[in-house]
């Protein structure tokens, strides 16, 4: 069994109003040095070894987890060690 971790973020150039609002709060908290805040999504799931191909994970990311018109994604695959 594998564990897949998917990170989805807005593409550069797509306005992220949530990120902008959070950045403003960071500045008011006393960190004016911070910039470029982007809010994204984190999705993790388990997958059997034989189904855990890059092709399958890419299809899940491109068709479901991310809308590639506005978002980009990256993922990591980890070995699940049985307890």
């Amino acid at each position: 069994m594998k564990k897949v971790k998917v990170y989805v973020t807005l593409k550069e150039g797509v306005l992220d109003p949530q990120g902008k609002a959070v950045e403003g709060a960071m500045h008011r908290l006393g960190y004016p040095e911070a910039s470029g805040v982007r809010i994204g999504k984190f999705i993790e799931f388990a997958m059997t070894d034989d189904a855990c191909s890059d092709q399958n994970i890419r299809e899940l990311c491109e068709k479901l987890f991310a809308n590639t018109v506005i978002e980009e994604f990256r993922y990591e695959v980890e070995e699940v060690t049985s307890p």
Binding site: P17, Q18, L64, N67, V69
Partner: protein, 228 residues
Amino acid sequence: MKTAVIVFPGSNCDRDMYEAIQCGLGVEVEYVWHAETSLAGFDAIMIPGGFSYGDYLRTGAIARFSNIMPAIVQAANEGKPVLGVCNGFQILLEAGLLPGALIRNKNLKFMCRTVGLEVVNPHTMFSSLYEKGEVIRLPIAHGEGNYYCDEATLAKLKAENRIVFKYQNNPNGSVADIAGIINEKGNVLGMMPHPERAVDALLGNVSGLRLFQSILKHWRDSVATVTA
């Protein structure tokens, strides 16, 4: 003209759409639950607003994989009128029936108000009873109505006259003030404003009624052509 109103878990403008078709337009209308797989016998398909599947993941992202979707795509391919309003527009974009995406409003607010819209293209089956450049007022009610597409797509939309409605005073940050666009074939319209909430003088606004009447006129003209 037999019309379908698709109902997803979380749709909340389905009743408004049903009433607009039945009472406003006066034609046959039926609800079709998202678990159905066929739209055989329907002449026009309406995808109403709301929060299908709670907007989980992204607006429209889960609805796109519901059982009824292949039938909607088929109806679109057959040239039947398919109208997506608000969440319906978001679903059409996720399904790839229209280009681009809808993101969070620029000001992060959910906005519920009546706005001015310019009819940019009256030469569609959804807008033929409006005048070019006519200004109408329709209600909006959305948090994610900020239309986004890349420059190449925008250039194509403009060149092919596929922007049907645009905002007078852009409320949400949409590129090129876009409020509604149509597909290449001209039979799939997605729009954020709610024409179905503006079909009865008793409720103060009938600006949306002509959109539905345009669809009916197109259907009558096409039936007349077939039987002639």
